[in-house]
Symmetry: C2
Subunit: 204 residues, 2 copies
Amino acid sequence: MPRLRRPPRKRPDRYHHGDLRAALIQAALRTIQTRGVEALTLRGVGEDLGVSRTALYRHFTDKSALLAAVAAEGFRTFHGRLVAAWEGAGRGRAGFEAQGLAYIRFAIEHPSSYRVMFGGFLSRPLPPDLATESAAAFQALVDAILEMQRAHLAAPGEPLLPARFAWATVHGIAMLAIDGVLAPADAEAAARFAVAGVARGIAA
Amino acid sequence: MPRLRRPPRKRPDRYHHGDLRAALIQAALRTIQTRGVEALTLRGVGEDLGVSRTALYRHFTDKSALLAAVAAEGFRTFHGRLVAAWEGAGRGRAGFEAQGLAYIRFAIEHPSSYRVMFGGFLSRPLPPDLATESAAAFQALVDAILEMQRAHLAAPGEPLLPARFAWATVHGIAMLAIDGVLAPADAEAAARFAVAGVARGIAA
DNA sequence: ACCTGAACACCGTTCAAGT
DNA sequence: ACCTGAACACCGTTCAAGT
C-alpha cells in the first residue's frame, strides 16, 4: 500500500517537531507513577511513544538526565506547595507546622516523584537547573525560619541549623511513610506530632 | 596434566563444605562497601569467590535475599551501637542524645550498609529474621523513651509518637549526610543540633 | 547435596546509516 | 536536525546436566 502524497493532518509522528523531549518526560513520569522508578526503562518509554529506543539520546545524555528532568518537574510543584502552605496558614507557628505537613503530604501523594527527587537515584552532583530548583524548595523552609526568628517564635542564631533539623524530620517521616514502615493512618499522626515537636524544639 | 589422587590440604574449593553462604555474604558486603550497592552483581560475587555465577542460588532464593542477609548483619551491629551509646552515656537525657548521635555516626561510617538497610533496596515485606533484627534496633529507641518518661524527662503518652519523631529526625540527618547534601563537617553540627532539638521537643 | 554451562529474556548505550 | 537498526557489553534467573 503506497503512501499518499497528501500531508497528514495530525499524526503520531508529531515528535519530529520538537516536543519529543516533553513527551519523554511525561511518559517517564507516567510509568514511574504507575509502576515505580525501578520499572522505568528507556526501551519502554520509547515503545510507549512509538519511537525508537535510542531516539531519547537526541534529547538527554543518558537515563539519569531523564530522571533529573522528571525530578525538576517534581521540585517545581513541591516548592509551590510549601510556599502556599506557609502563607495559607497565615505564617507564624501555624504556618510553619502547615508547611511541614504539606511537605509530608506531597511525599505521600507522589511517592514515586518524591523517591526520584530524594531517593538517591539522581547522579551527584546535581545538574545545575535541578540544583537550582532543589535549593529554591529548601529556601522556602529557611525563609519561614527567618521570619519566625524575627517574630521571636524561634530561637535566634544560624537559621540553617533549625532549617536542617526541620527538613531532616519531615524527610524522615516521609520516607518511613513511603516505605510502608508507617501505615497511612499512623503517618498522619506521626507527622502532626513531629512538626509540633520541631516547633517546640526550635522555639525561643 | 592428570590430577593426583592425594587429597589437597586446603584449597579454594573449601566452599563445597558449607561455608559458601557466609562467604557470599562477606563478598557482597565487601563490594558494597568499596563500590556501592548498585555495583553489586551476582556474577561478580561468584567470580570473586571463584565459583559459578549460579552457585549462589543454592543458598539464596534471589538477589534481594542476599541483600537481606547483608542488611541483617548490619542491623545487628547497629543495634549494639544504639544500646551501648544509651548505657555508656548514663541513660537519661545525655543517653538519649548519645544514642541519636550514635545512630547518625553509624550511618556515616557505614553508608553502604545503611543504604542497604534503609534505602529501599530490600523487598517488602521484610523476611521474618530481618524484620526481627530491625524491630530490635527500633526497640532500643522505644526503651530509651519509656525510661525517660518514667524519669519525667519526656512528656507522658503513647511512646511510639516521640520514638517515631526521634527516629525520623536521625534518619533524615543520616540520609542528608550520606547523600552528600550535608558536608561531613556540617553533618556533625546538624546532628548535635537535631538531637538536642528532639530532646527539647519531647520534654515533659 | 552441591555446583556448572548453556540458554533466555532482559538492560543501557554506541554508532554508522538513513531522511 | 532528527531518528533508526544492528550491535556490544552487560544483567538476573532457569534448567538440564554433571559429580
